[in-house]
Symmetry: C2
Subunit: 271 residues, 2 copies
């Protein structure tokens, strides 16, 4: 299922996602606007158990991973997202040893987590195995992190994995796709409750928090729910050209009221 040849290109063009050599990200999530990227070569197209998976090489942004028609990663700007979603949480903790990444099957967040030498156990809990397989094949700059001996990969529902690990993690990062399909539950209060329960004292979380230009209706209740669960909550963002409207936010929550996300507790060179 994971190998792709001539038919794959034909399929991608046939289903209207790639027209005249351009991929267009047109969805109901941001009606009336769409980013297009010019395609050099379709590398993979298939249907996983959970979603459509498309990988192509672009003229301007390197290799691009698309799930259900939505851009997840481009080699050119992925660092802006991976670094921000990871290090805001990691540097707010004095010494994170056990870290869980939920989603993030491309391996990019895992790569950033592993740059902290204090990390002893890094778990990745991705529901869709095909995302991991495809990333290992086509996005080695992200997926190289899988070969680190500190890593355990779990192909399962992140919420279920957390239920089995009460008071275990120092940092939990939820690198989810948009709140439709398999990622929908990751934006709801019961999921934030589960993260709270899976954290040790002093633990922190960072969750993909959507775009302030597009999704205030989702962000507002999410922040309210988090403030009812955690004693300290903050919102941050990064600019990233290939996400809709060029911007994405992060929800940061801490188990301790004294945790602060504004300044790192350690220096990058002493991680």
């Amino acid at each position: 299922r994971l190998f792709c040849g001539v038919d794959c290109v034909a399929n991608a063009e046939m289903d209207g996602k790639i027209v005249d050599g351009w991929f267009r990200e047109k969805t109901v999530l941001w009606p009336g606007q769409a980013l297009s990227l010019e395609v050099t070569e379709v590398l993979y197209q298939g249907k996983s158990a959970f979603q459509d998976v498309l990988v192509f090489r672009s003229v301007s942004h390197g290799v691009v991973l698309v799930l259900d028609g939505v851009i997840q990663v481009t080699e050119r700007d992925e660092f802006a997202y991976q670094e921000m979603i990871t290090h805001l949480a990691m540097f707010a903790h004095e010494r994170p040893e056990r870290v869980l990444v939920v989603g993030g099957g491309d391996g990019g967040v895992l790569r950033e987590v592993l740059r902290h030498e204090c990390v002893k156990e890094a778990y990745l809990c991705e529901i869709d195995e095909d995302v991991v397989t495809v990333s290992k094949k086509f996005l080695p700059g992200l997926a190289a992190s899988y070969s680190d001996p500190r890593v355990s990969v779990k192909i399962m529902d992140g919420a279920k994995f957390m239920d089995e690990h009460a008071a275990y993690f120092d940092v939990i990062i939820t690198d989810s796709s948009d709140p439709v399909g398999p990622a929908d539950v990751l934006f709801r209060p019961p999921y934030f409750e589960k993260m709270n329960n899976a954290l040790r004292d002093g633990g922190v979380i960072c969750s993909q928090g959507e775009c302030i230009w597009l999704h205030l209706d989702l962000i507002r209740p999410m922040m309210t729910a988090c403030r009812n669960i955690f004693p300290h909550v903050a919102y941050a963002f990064t600019t990233i050209p290939t996400y809709p409207s060029g911007q994405i936010g992060f929800v940061l929550c801490a188990k301790s009221s004294t945790t602060r996300f504004e300044a790192p507790l350690r220096s990058p060179s002493a991680t």
Copy 2:
């Protein structure tokens, strides 16, 4: 020349800018990537003495002004740009009384300048009269500023206007389009020299400074040139979904080495 009916729609569709009801911003300035906006109605299309002018109503972003195929303003996100390019400079000056806007024919920067009650004379120097005329007709939320009695509109080259006004202005804001066509000179050292000469003591400037995701090759020499001319220089940015890569920067320069752009000198309520 400034009235548009059925032919106008047909023209816009014929020249390939609007296909299947979507406008696509495809240019050599950012190859391989393009933002598309869904069009409700083409309001105006014409050729001015300087550039192609297109105005359409969009499904998601209100009225949109396009020059030479590049989005200049949408009603939905224009505030993010106008407020930032204007107020960073205006609030860094103790009491700006004479302000010059170069470019900015849509009137949006002028609107923000006029919110500072200390302003006694506001000049707008736009080279393309059609941009002013079209904006008055289709973008009243921006162009309403033209009716303020403090405003003088000059349809001429901004550099020439500054030559005639040595040591005159407290703040100069250059709201230019991209560095091709009529705006090209506005990114070069001789233009920054002219702005310096046209400022009174304590004066400050803010110039459109392009996108750090796309144009570092242009920004780097521009910053170096500015540091050779002004004793204090800074770079700022805002997020704005309909500009390429969702981000645009600003070059801030001060005639005094003690000017700081990080914190406002006055409060918004006491402008």
